[in-house]
């Protein structure tokens, strides 16, 4: 991450801006079924904290502290994704490492709501993303390099 950000920094104009979009490392997703009668919240999806994302955040913060970038903003936004089948929902859960698991009791409620939803029902997952905005800063001049 540090090498990537340094490479990007070199390619930016002075005062150029970086937007770092990541899944939110700590957010607990939730699942719901949406059908013609509305949205039925079912419960959380359990996940481990994403260590790779945390490491990326730490690397980026280190570059800010080192004066390579200034942090302009840190945003979080929640959003929903939707799939049309249980198989697609399970495939999505399994695409994460480690796999996202359903909290105790959520699976039976999901199956019941899904069956009751009928044709056109969708399974929604609520997720959160983060966006960090960084502005390039010039190289710090050491005291030794300054003109007398």
């Amino acid at each position: 991450m540090v090498d990537a950000l340094e490479s990007v920094r070199k390619a930016l104009r002075p005062s150029g801006v970086i937007f770092d979009l990541q899944p939110d490392a700590a957010h607990q997703p939730t699942v719901a079924v949406r059908d013609r009668s509305g949205r039925h919240a079912l419960g959380p999806l359990l996940r481990e904290t994403d260590e790779d994302v945390l490491a990326a955040h730490a690397a980026r913060d280190g570059l800010v502290r080192a004066g390579r970038f200034s942090q302009v903003a840190f945003l979080r936004r929640t959003y929903r994704t939707s799939v049309a089948t249980l198989a697609a929902f399970d495939a999505d859960r399994r695409s994460h490492t480690p796999t996202w698991r359903l909290a105790r009791g959520v699976r039976p409620r999901l199956l019941e709501a899904w069956r009751a939803g009928g044709k056109g029902a969708g399974i929604e997952t609520t997720r959160r993303m983060s966006i960090v905005v960084l502005r390039r800063r010039g190289p710090r001049r050491s005291i030794a390099s300054r003109s007398p």
């Binding site: 090498d3 390619a11 801006v17 970086i18 994704t81 993303m129 966006i131």
Partner: protein, 127 residues
């Protein structure tokens, strides 16, 4: 450049090609685990409008985000280490007539980047 642009009610400018691509490839908005089309750009453009900018995108995949803003950027260099994804993005760019976009299968750290310097860099769901 694309002549078949449309402006949505919320002010987002899309090409017919990219709209069709999203419908065909990703299904309804919000599928695939990524935010629905438009959300990321609305947040980004609160800070820097991408119109007329030279943009570097790192981790572009098959151009999911790229094609949402490419029509209004001045130039785009979009990178991903996955050569198959980049080939799909190139094919889409050809079909859509995006002449201002270069998709490159490489890591950002792998030497000097062509097309710079850039006004904006987007690190899109890449670590």
């Amino acid at each position: 450049m694309n002549r078949d642009r449309t402006r949505r009610a919320d002010g987002e400018v899309w090409t017919n090609t990219s709209l069709g691509w999203f419908r065909e490839r990703l299904g309804p908005p919000g599928t695939g685990g990524y935010p629905p089309p438009g959300l990321e750009l609305r947040l980004i453009e609160r800070y820097v409008p991408l119109a007329g900018r030279d943009v570097l995108e790192v981790g572009c995949g098959d151009g999911r985000l790229t094609f949402q803003y490419a029509a209004r950027a001045r130039s785009v260099v979009a990178l991903d280490a996955n050569a198959d994804e980049i080939e799909r993005a190139r094919e889409m760019a050809r079909r859509g007539g995006f002449r201002n976009v270069r998709f490159l299968a490489r890591a950002v750290q792998a030497g000097r980047l062509p097309g710079g310097p850039f006004d904006v860099a987007l690190l899109t769901w890449s670590l």
